[in-house]
């Protein structure tokens, strides 16, 4: 197990280096002066240009520049953004809101997606199953920004069930509605994945055996059907963290959540390239680690999987 963990961590390194290299390359190394990319539409003053050249080692060969950037990234020194604030400070200030938002979304999609999917899968072909399948398709098809506006309008403004926008503190209670909006699309996908896996496993031989030897229905469903159906769902939830990060840009914009997505959007509209590279790099790290955790979860879900 420990050996497997080490191996997987080592495998993460090329992926992480590759992804950051890609982003770095795209921002700094495309044809033209990298200062154009860094300075955006308005252009830099000579002083700022000199400072940026110094900060990103633009006089050095490409790989020296890249590794000094990665070194900074790993030690938490991300440089300063356009308004002169330390990027690590900005991220530290924005992260809690996004983490809370992502947790609400993940919990929402996991609990409701698995419950609904389990029920639909056990009664495959029934009216609940058919309804849920159609509704989930509709939810998947509606883009998150349309969904966000519609929910904000009806739930927040018309019916007054939740606050339509988020206060500066971004408490848990403020974030319930944006969290649900963020998790809705994935909820539908979790539901469909669970439903398919459950329907397949419900007719498996070991389930018949479990029923035949007199286990209660509850135990058969929980231990034999549900647990065996969780592997594709766990994989999806791990990968979904990346999609949630992307969706957070839109959701945080609609509900005015002071989080990472909002910062990224601001950085994009200002053309603040150092900020964009930093935020995306941090998100890539989170994504890679989440996938590693999912891999480790497999062993708990299915003891047949051994790590060697």
């Amino acid at each position: 197990m420990a050996w497997y963990l080490v191996k997987r961590l080592l495998q993460l390194i090329p992926v992480f280096l590759g992804a950051t290299l890609l982003v770095y390359f795209l921002v700094f190394m495309t044809p033209g002066d990298p200062l154009d990319a860094l300075c955006g539409d308005k252009g830099c003053t000579p002083g700022v240009a000199a400072a940026l050249t110094e900060q990103y080692h633009l006089g050095d060969p490409f790989f020296v520049q890249y590794f000094s950037y990665i070194g900074g990234l790993l030690t938490g020194d991300l440089g300063v953004n356009f308004s002169g604030r330390e990027i690590s400070d900005v991220l530290a200030g924005a992260f809690p809101a996004t983490v809370r938002l992502a947790i609400i979304a993940l919990i929402f999609e996991a609990i409701f997606g698995i419950t609904f999917g389990l029920y639909a899968g056990l009664k495959k072909g029934g009216w609940f199953d058919s309804t849920v399948l159609v509704v989930s398709l509709v939810v998947i098809a509606v883009p998150i920004f349309v969904l966000g506006f519609v929910m904000q309008y009806f739930v927040g403004v018309k019916w007054g069930l939740a606050k339509p926008t988020v206060s500066g503190a971004a408490d848990w209670s403020d974030l319930i509605l944006p969290g649900i909006v963020l998790g809705l699309v994935s909820f539908a996908q979790v539901l469909r994945l669970t439903r398919t896996a459950v329907a397949e496993n419900a007719s498996a031989d070991y389930v018949r055996t479990a029923t035949a030897k007199g286990l209660t229905r509850g135990r058969v469903v929980r231990v034999h059907i549900l647990r065996n159906s969780m592997i594709p769902v766990a994989t999806f939830l791990g990968m979904d963290l990346g999609a949630l990060m992307g969706g957070a840009i839109v959701t945080e914009g609609i509900f005015n959540v002071p989080g990472i997505g909002n910062q990224l959007y601001k950085a994009l509209t200002l053309g603040d390239a150092p900020m964009v590279v930093s935020v995306v790099s941090v998100m890539v790290i989170i994504f890679c680690v989440a996938n590693l955790l999912v891999d480790l979860l497999y062993a708990w879900l299915d003891p047949r999987i051994r790590y060697a």
């Binding site: 590759g18 920004f145 994009l268 053309g271 964009v276 995306v280």
Partner: protein, 366 residues
Amino acid sequence: MPENNIENNDAAGRGLDPEARGREAAVREVRDTADTPAGSHQKDIGGPSAGLMMEHFVADATTTPVAETDSRSAEGAPVSLWRDAWRQLRKKPTFIIAALLILLVIVVALLPQLFWTENPSAASTQCLLENSNGKASAGHPMGFTAQGCDVYSRVIAGTRASLMVGLLTTIGVVVIGGLIGALAGYFGGWIDGVLARLGDVFFALPLILGALVVMQLPFFKAHRGVWTLVVVLVLFGWPQIARIMRGAVVEVRNADYVVSARSLGVSSLGILMRHIIPNAMAPVIVIATISLGTFIVAESTLSYLGIGLPPSMMSWGNDISDAKDAFRSNPMPVFWPGLALSLTVLSFIMLGDALRDALDPKARKK
């Protein structure tokens, strides 16, 4: 001709070979000699006139009821995967609805002038501010935008951009991802390793995030349009298809027909193109259909964020982006493009879903 011995033992001349009908004359000939000891009928039966004049001592196969059960027709023969899938699809209401909706969207994209009440980009069309945020009225069934433009005509006109981005991106992703996946799966070894890691790198960047970074580069900023958007979406969209293609290729790589083609001396490229890729296409087409919907969503999301299609271009994402600030006083200019967008995406996802069910016979059993 040893195969005739088999047919000889089978009194009704049941052809195991679907092409056996063509050899009926030969079979009758053999039947005539059936009472002679086995192996004694070594005479030539291949002549064109052989057997035609022979007398039959059993009822002719065409006059007995056995003929009914024994007859083989091309329609009764095992059908190909695609023909079988088509039979399944024809009966599915979700497939029919999705296909009709997609057809409608394609027609609207190709011939918008048949649908709009006025060409929203024509010089003669003026958005009157007196109509700003106006309610629906005769000739303007979806009301007006904040600029006083007709929402209905804009929704119709925006179809083409969204569909083009979705379609072109899907084609690009299938060609590039399919090729890379097929190469990785077929050759294995270090090629597989390198291509898999490369895919991981692009896969680690979520589609929207990657596209955000690329779209704000100076070059892409300066040339915003359908083509740059397609390039960016293909860049971050290909690993998914590559993974599926690779899996499918690995599955069929050692199939008997591939081994026999290889031993017949067909080149690697020939095997890949003629035998492996066509047989691995089914899962790729399913995912590609569903992805087409996701790419349309990605386009509109990027346009919504202001870094997708240029504002001068009419698209659903741009329209929603323009109307979002006035959403609480006039939600309709957000609602209608959103509905068009959702319905289009929904029909592609439904189509992919139906295709998946039809192409996977295992999933069909009750």
